[in-house]
């Protein structure tokens, strides 16, 4: 077939010199080879790595993530601890596992904001027009957040130890508790990602999730034990995923966890992912 019209741009080509031209042509030739496409899991990890590149470039976000648990621990322990539990030390033993969960809940809200920003830029168009497993971007972003959850929750635990928190579950119990917290945060983040895909501005997500997150945190057993509350409220609090997680984490750290606590905590995680995972993917795949 003839290739019409190739003469028209001659002046543009000479303007740039042959050197650039030759380099571009050589690079295009290398691009002729198409390696085998990675699998879905590998793609998720590549997107995770991409998100971690950004954290490396902007360490500020990590600092923000770490500041919050420090504040909450200090304020609640020393301001309210004595009044609630009789002594600040006794309250710290109760509160600290809850603070770890609280911390990751607060950080997980950022995931929705980040996703909202990510899908509103041109890079998302590029990804969606590439032969990529569609949810990989979402999963990768969520996985990278686990790094931030982990840092913040480790800081919370270390601070607790410094202030006199003593986990009777030992190192193993603490590690298991931290693992449980990461799984919970990963599961909860799907709620915010779904939200991040339906609202138009990042600020709106902050407002909406802020409104949603406080009942979730206060109608739980993070700050106080539930036995002094009315029965209907106890029932409500008991099905709160935050409560399920805090109970299991508290048990793991204290060394008196039961199988039922662990099972219900994971069940809550599974429900969150089962509902909001597909919803998020649907919202992401829909035309935008």
């Amino acid at each position: 077939m003839s290739e019409p019209g190739t003469g028209g741009a001659a002046s543009a080509l000479t303007l740039d010199g042959d050197e650039l031209d030759a380099a571009v042509r050589a690079a295009l030739r290398t691009g002729e080879t198409r390696p085998a496409r990675p699998g879905a899991a590998a793609m998720c990890l590549i997107f995770c790595q991409r998100a971690l590149f950004k954290i490396r470039r902007d360490p500020q976000q990590v600092f923000d993530a770490v500041l919050f648990p420090v504040m909450v621990t200090l304020v609640f322990t020393f301001l309210f601890g004595g009044a609630i539990a009789g002594s600040t030390d006794r309250y710290l033993q109760f509160l600290l596992p809850g603070v770890v969960v609280l911390t990751v809940v607060m950080i997980s809200m950022n995931t929705g904001v980040a996703l909202n920003v990510a899908v509103s830029t041109g890079i998302d168009d590029r990804f969606r027009s590439m032969p990529i497993w569609r949810p990989a971007m979402l999963v990768g972003e969520l996985l990278s957040d686990v790094v931030r959850y982990l840092m913040a929750s480790v800081v919370a635990v270390l601070l607790g130890l410094l202030l006199g928190y003593r986990p009777h579950g030992g190192l193993l119990g603490v590690l298991a508790a931290l693992a449980m917290v990461q799984v919970f945060a990963f599961s909860l983040a799907w709620v915010w990602t779904a939200l991040g895909l339906v609202v138009d501005k990042p600020q709106t997500i902050m407002t909406l999730s802020g409104i949603g997150v406080f009942p979730l945190l206060f109608a739980s057993n993070i700050f106080v034990a539930t036995h002094s509350m009315p029965g209907w409220l106890q029932a409500l609090i008991n099905i709160n995923p935050v409560t399920r997680t805090v109970t299991a984490v508290r048990g793991l750290m204290a060394g008196d966890v039961t199988g039922w606590h662990i099972f219900t905590a994971f069940l809550a995680d599974a429900v969150l992912i089962a509902v909001f995972g597909p919803l998020t993917v649907y919202l992401y795949n829909r035309e935008r």
Binding site: G5, V24, L28, G122, S129
Partner: protein
Amino acid sequence: MAPASDLAIETSGLVKTFGETRAVDGVDLAVRPGTVQGFLGPNGAGKTTTIRVLATLLHPDSGTARVCGHDVVREAATVRSKVSLTGQFASVDEDLSGSDNLFVLARLLGYRPAQARDRSAELLTAFGLEEQADVLVKNFSGGLRRRLDVAASLVVRPDVLFLDEPTTGLDPVSRSRVWAVVRAIVDTGTTVVLTTQYLEEADRLADRIAVIDRGRIIADGTSDELKASVGANALRVRLRDPEQRETAVRVLERELGPDGELTARASRGRSPGGESAQETAGTAEQAGETAGSPGGDPAALTIRVTDGGDGKGVERATRALAELTREGVALADFTFERPSLDEVFLALTGHHAETRGKAGKKGHAAGSQGGRDGQDGS
């Protein structure tokens, strides 16, 4: 089912609506492999929407679109493995460095980590971006960002490359570099679909140009065909002495008028709108008409100069100016103007390109119909 054709892109009756707006309103396209198809039109004409449908980002409401013989809806995954998209707004990651951007794309396309680093470095060098390897994209200039954006589409050479306004907002040097790159890409066999608001860009790069307005293709052809349908360049002269007007008209008509393909028309100063509309609708009957519209500037003359398909318009105009001097006509000023996008639009649609956003829907419906019908045969 229609048999797979050897066209790179084939659409038939493509329609995409957003609420009440018909962003794409019955687009038929046939793009041959290894060519550049230009989409020329103002903002909001439907260029980007068409490209987004072809790149599988939007589903058409009706009609069909095939890329490399594959349906963009039913075989979206296959289409995605054959195309690359460089969007109108930077489709690279602002918060990553130049090198990390390309690395991530190379990894996603199947390169192993070490290979991906090599590929990233190779592309950065080829596109003159070595120094930006470790700079965050948000600190790039517009030209560098565009180059990285194009490079990002070439990690694996696509069969079809979509470039959505690749040079909007670029300085002339950056623009010509992007043009050179596009040429190199086409030479390797990739089909390029490019949208632009610049007639010159479409002229330089595109084998065929589709002029698109309000979701419809109102003209489709080679650059020369399009120009011929639009009319011509304009030579505007201003005389030192209005008394010499008749001599000037005679000389200009002699030099630019009688060879058939030229239309000489002298009139009062600057009213390009009405003229060019008449020009395309009208014919050679107007040639030879000595104007001097009542109330016009008696010292100003405008003469249409067609390129005649050989790009010789400037030479003819130069000759005519020399003849004016030889005959003793003193000029105060002269300008030579190429048809602008606005004139293309005016000629083809009867309304200005710039007023696209502001003009009420009602005004348009009546205004554009004549022009559009008139151009259907071109």
